[in-house]
Symmetry: D2
Subunit: 348 residues, 4 copies
C-alpha cells in the first residue's frame, strides 16, 4: 500500500527532527514536504539541518528541499512542530487549504473547537473536528496533542480519574533539557544546577489536564472538575520528564486499587492497533527507586509512561511518580499517534 | 581568648570534612580530637582522609591522630557526623562522660528530651537540655540539628508559620548528591538522570518539621499542628537542596504579606551574634528563575536559605521555592551554629 | 538450530549485565549458567542483580540461579566479565575443565600463549589457541579481548598501521563512567569535573596496542614495532570512550589517504559474517565536531568505531579522534564477537 | 588613595561579568564606564545584565549606565572582554584616544607590536608598548593576555622551558563550558557528552605559546623555537581548563627536576606584588588523581595553575596534567593582572 504523503512544518528543531526520524520508517506516512522559514526555502534539508538525533540523517530525508508555508499538491496531512506564534498563523492556512494539521504547538490546544487528544485517554474528542470544520468552513482541520509534561501526567491520571475521580493534584515536574528545544538551555545554566522555572509551563499543565480528562458533549468539551497545581523544574537530564504527584480523589483508592487501575489501562481497540501505540500505555514499577528518566524513557519506543512509588499521602490520598519521554510520548510520538488515529477514524 | 577544644566524631565523611574545614578557622572552637572507627585509631588524619573539600587539607588538621570513641581529657564539646546506627551507641557514651554532643545524626532527633534546633527558628527548645540531663543523669548531653532538606524547608516555613499558621504543605525536593555522603550515589545513577527515592527521607521531613515549629512546654515539645507530605528526588547537582512547596495556611497571606514575613525574618539577638549566623537567614529573590543551587547555595557562606517564586496556588494558598546548602545550613554549619548557641547560652 | 549453552562468569557487574542483555536474544548462544561469588550461590539472578540496563531484566535471564565457579554439565563456552584477580584463578580452572573462556578480564591479555583479539584486526591470532592447549594440556582455553580504550584505539590504528606503518602515537582518552563498572565512580567525583587518572589504564593501552597489531609467528606474537604514550581522563559521560591521537608513521599518509584507509576497512569474510560484526567496523565522520559519545556510541549496535577530525599534526604526521562504545565494542560486544569467531573457526 | 577609573568593554558576557565582580572590590581600579552595543546605550547595567556570577550583582556596579564606545572623560585604562571582530574595531579607537586597553580578545594577540603577556612568564614583553605607541602614534595602547587554554599551558611550560628547553609538546585539552561564554554551548550538546572541537582554539594554543615563551628583542618578539600540537575537547565542566601534555626537551629533566622547577616558579618581584598575583603561580600536586577542575580551580583565587601527574613519557620525555580557572587565570584575572602590571610599571 502506498504511504500517504505528509508535510512537516518546523522540521529543523528538536521535535521536528524526532518527527523526521520516526517518519523515515513509518508504515503509513511518508514525508513529501518540509516547510521552513523564508531564508531556507529552496535549500536541501540535509545541508540546512544540524542533525541532533543519533548517527546520521536518513538519506531519503536529507534530500528533501524546503518549501514555503503552502501545502504542496497531494498533501492532505501535516505534522506541525512550529513555535506557537508561527503556528497561530500557518496552521489555519493549511487547514483552510484542505490539510489536516496534527500539531504539537500550544497555539490552539485550548481553543474550543480544536481537539486536544492523547489517543488512549480521549480519542472520542476527535468528534470535535466535525464542529471545527463546519464552523470554520475548513476542509482540513487542526488536531493537537498536549504539552510534554501534561502528556505524562494526564496519561497517568486518566485511569485513576475514570475509576476514582481526581479532585485535586499538586504536582512537581523534573523536566529534561530537550523539552526546551535546541539550543534551548545553556549548559552553564544546567550543569550542576536546577532551574525552578519554565515560562508558561505551569499554566499549560493546569489547564490542559482538565480538558484532556473532560467529556466531549456535542460541540464542546466539558472540562473535568479537577484542580491541578504545578511546580515545574528543569533538571540536567537529556530526555524524559518526571512528574511527582500528590492526588485527592472523590473516592480514595488503596495503593493496590490504584496500581490495578494503572497497570490494566489500555486504549480502545482502534487505538491499540495504531502503529505508534505501545503494548502498554502505562507500566507500573515495583522497584522503589523507579521510574528514572535514563533507564525508563525508552520503554515502548518512548510511548510508555512508567509509574512508580505509589504510596499514601499524608495531605491528599495518594502519591506517585510518573515518567515519560518528552520528545516521544510528549511531542513527536504523540503527534504521530494522533495522525494515525485520524487516519484510522477516516478523517483523512 | 583560647579556643575551646572540641572533638569531631565521624570526621572522614562529607559532613565531617566540611566540619573540619569550618573548624580550622573557627573563632571559638579548635579541633582537639578526631574519632574514627577501630581500624583507623592511631593513624594520622592527613594520611587517612580522602580530602574532598577544595584545595588541600589544612595543616593543623592533617596532623591530628584518630582516637577511640572515648572523650579525650579536656574535651567538653563534640560535633558528631556519625551515621545513625553508630551515633546511637557513641553519642550517649560521650554525653554520659560529660561531653555536650552537637549531632548531625538522625539517631536522636525525634527523641522526646533531645532538642532539635535551628537557632533562628526555635533556639528556645534548648531548654530541653536541662530535662535531658536530669532525666538521664548526664553532665553532658545531646543536641541535634535537622535533616538537610528539613533545614531548608523549616527555615522557610518558620516566619510563615509564625504569622499565618501553616496547616498543610505538599513539598517536592530536588536534592544534591552530596546529601548522600561520599562515595554515596554512583555517577552511573546520576548522570543524565533523576532518582525519585531517598530511603527514609520523606519520613524525616514530615516528622521533623512539626517538631521544629512546635512549642517547648516545660519538659517536652508540643509539635506544631501541621501536616507535611514530601516527595523527594535526587538530582545531578553537587551541593544545594531545593524544595518546592505548596502550602495551606490558617490565615491565607497575600504574596506580598508572605514576602514581607520571609524577608524580615531574623533570629533572636543572641542568635544573630553567633559566628555562623548569616546576615539574613532568608533572602527573597525576585528574579523569576531563582533560587538555583549552583548560583545561590553559597549565600551567607552557605547559611542563607534563598526563597523565590512566591505565587498563589490553585490547590492550596501559596507556592514557593526554597533552596539552601545541604552540607552547610543542612548539616555541618547547622551543627556548628548549634554548638555556638550552646556556648552563648552557657550550656558548656 | 539449538543454541549453544554458555556460562557467564561475573554476571552482576556493568559488563556482565551488558553480556546478559545481548545473550538474551543471541542467535547462537544461550545462557545456561551464571556464576557468582560464594554468598550468591543458589539464589535467583533476578532477585540478586540490580539491573542497570534500560527497562526490565529479560524473564528467561531473571530465572537463572547462581552456581559455584565450576562448569555446569554441557557447557563448553564461557564469557567472563570477572575482575582480574578472580579471573586469574577461575578462568584457568574452566579452561582445564574443557571450557573455552572468552574473557574481558585483563588477567591474561599479555600472556604469551593467550590470544588477544579484535576480530576485524587480528583474527589470525586465534592460532595461538592450539599452542596454549598443547602447552597447558587444556581441552578448553582462554581467549581475550582488549581493554576498552585499547579496543577503540587499536581498531582505528589497524588500517593505518597496515597501510602506512604506525611508529609513534601520543593519545589522550576521555573515558566514560561505565568503564569503571557499577557503582564505580562517585557522582561527587564526576559531576562538573574530570579525573585525570585511571589506575593501570595507561599501561594497558600502551602494551596491548603493540600486541594487537603484532604478527602471529608460529607459537608467539611479535609485537608491532610502535610506541604508544597514553594520557587518560575520566569524564562525566555514561557510555563511550573517546581517544584523540597524534600519530607518526613510517610512510606519512595525506589526510585523504588516511581517510580512505579507514573508511574502507573491513574484517575478513569469516569475520564479516559474525552476528556481532557491524556493517562497518569504522565509520569516518566529515562533520567537524564529531564523533561525540552520546550521538555516535550506538552506531552499528555499539560495535562501530567512529573516526573524525582527521588533520595534519605539527609535531607528528596526523591527528584524529576515535570514539566507540566502551561496554560494547570495548567489552561485552567484543567478547561476544570473539566467542562467535571461535565458533566459526571450529574452536568449540 | 583614590582608585583609578577604568572602563569595561563588553561587560555583559561571562568574562565581562567576572571582570565586574573582581573590579567591585579591587584596591586600585574602579569601574567608571561600561561600554555596550548600540541598543543598550543609556540603559542601567543592573537592568540589562543577566547576572551569572554567584548571588546578586554588587550595587555600585548595577547602577552604572552603558555608554557608547568612546572613552569617557578621565578614563585612561580599559579592560576589554569584547569579541574579536568588535575588538578589532573598538580597541584601536580607545588606544588612539589615549586609553591603555588591556584586552582578553584574540584580535591583536599575535600582532607584532602588541604585547601578549602572562606577568609571571614574560612581563618584560611590556617593553613592546613603547614601540607600539611610537609606530602608531598612540598615547594609549593595547596589551593582551592569552587564550584561556594557552594561559594554563604556557604557565606550566614556562619554568620547564627556562630550565630544560621545550622542543615539542603534544597537548590535549579538556575545556569547561564557560570558555564558550554565555549562553555558549547548549546543554543538549554537553550533558553526557564530549565535543572534540572548538573553532580556532588549536591554532591559538599552537601559536600563542611560542610567542609567550619567546624573547623580547628590541622592537619585536622572537618566538621560542618550539612546536605545539593541540587536540581540544569541550567537556561537561562549568569552570576549569585541564591540559594534558607530552613534552620533548632539549635537555631531558627527571621527574624530580621538573617538579622542582615547577614548584619553585615565581614571577619577578614587581609581579609578585601585584594584587591579583597568587602566592604561587604553580602548585604541584602529589596526589595521583589531581588536579581536578572542580576541586582545584579556585586555588589562589583562581590564579594558580595546579600541575600533577608528572611522569615519564614513552614517546617524548615527560607527561603531566595542568589545570587552571579559564575565566580567572585564563581571562578576567589575567587581564586584571596585566592592568596591574602596567600600573606598577608606570605605563598608565
Amino acid at each position: 500500500m502506498p504511504r500517504i504523503p505528509v508535510a512537516v512544518l518546523g522540521a529543523t528543531g528538536a521535535v521536528g527532527q524526532k518527527l523526521l526520524a520516526a517518519l523515515a520508517s513509518h508504515p503509513s506516512f511518508e514525508v513529501a514536504q518540509v516547510v521552513a522559514s523564508a531564508e531556507r526555502i529552496g535549500r536541501r534539508l540535509g545541508s540546512e539541518i544540524r542533525w541532533r538525533e543519533a548517527g546520521t540523517i536518513p538519506d531519503q530525508i536529507a534530500d528533501l528541499v524546503f518549501t514555503a508555508a503552502e501545502p504542496a499538491a497531494g498533501v492532505r496531512l501535516a505534522f506541525s512542530a512550529l513555535d506557537a506564534p508561527i503556528a497561530r498563523e500557518v496552521e489555519p492556512r493549511f487547514a483552510a487549504a484542505g490539510v489536516l494539521v496534527v500539531s504539537n504547538a500550544s497555539a490552539f490546544r485550548m481553543t474550543e473547537d480544536v481537539p486536544l487528544i492523547i489517543p488512549e485517554v480521549n480519542a472520542d474528542h476527535l468528534a470535535l473536528l466535525a464542529t471545527q470544520r463546519r464552523r470554520r468552513g475548513w476542509t482540513g482541520g487542526i488536531l493537537t496533542n498536549p504539552n510534554c509534561s501534561t502528556a505524562v501526567l494526564a496519561t497517568a491520571l486518566a485511569p485513576l480519574h475514570a475509576a476514582f475521580g481526581v479532585e485535586q493534584a499538586v504536582v512537581a515536574t523534573l523536566q529534561a533539557a530537550s523539552g526546551a528545544g535546541y539550543p534551548g538551555v545553556s549548559s552553564l545554566d544546567l550543569l550542576d544546577n536546577v532551574i525552578p522555572f519554565i515560562g508558561g509551563e505551569e499554566d499549560k499543565i493546569e489547564t490542559e489536564c482538565a480538558r484532556l480528562l473532560g467529556r466531549c458533549e456535542g460541540r464542546a468539551i466539558v472540562p473535568a472538575p479537577l484542580t491541578v497545581a504545578a511546580m515545574v523544574h528543569r533538571v540536567p537530564v537529556i530526555d524524559g520528564h518526571l512528574v511527582s504527584a500528590s492526588v485527592r480523589f472523590r473516592t480514595a483508592p488503596s495503593v493496590d486499587e490504584a496500581t490495578q487501575a494503572l497497570a490494566t489501562f489500555v486504549g480502545s481497540e482502534i487505538v491499540r492497533a495504531l502503529p505508534s501505540s505501545p503494548a502498554r500505555p502505562i507500566e507500573v514499577e515495583a522497584r522503589p527507586d523507579r521510574p528514572q528518566p535514563r533507564l525508563d524513557r525508552d520503554r515502548g519506543q518512548g510511548m510508555t509512561v512508567t509509574v512508580g512509588r505509589l504510596r499514601p499521602c499524608p495531605v491528599h490520598h495518594l502519591r506517585f511518580v510518573a515518567m515519560g519521554h518528552n520528545l516521544v510520548r510528549g511531542a513527536a510520538g504523540a503527534a504521530l499517534q494522533n495522525g494515525e488515529l485520524a487516519l484510522a477514524a477516516g478523517e483523512l
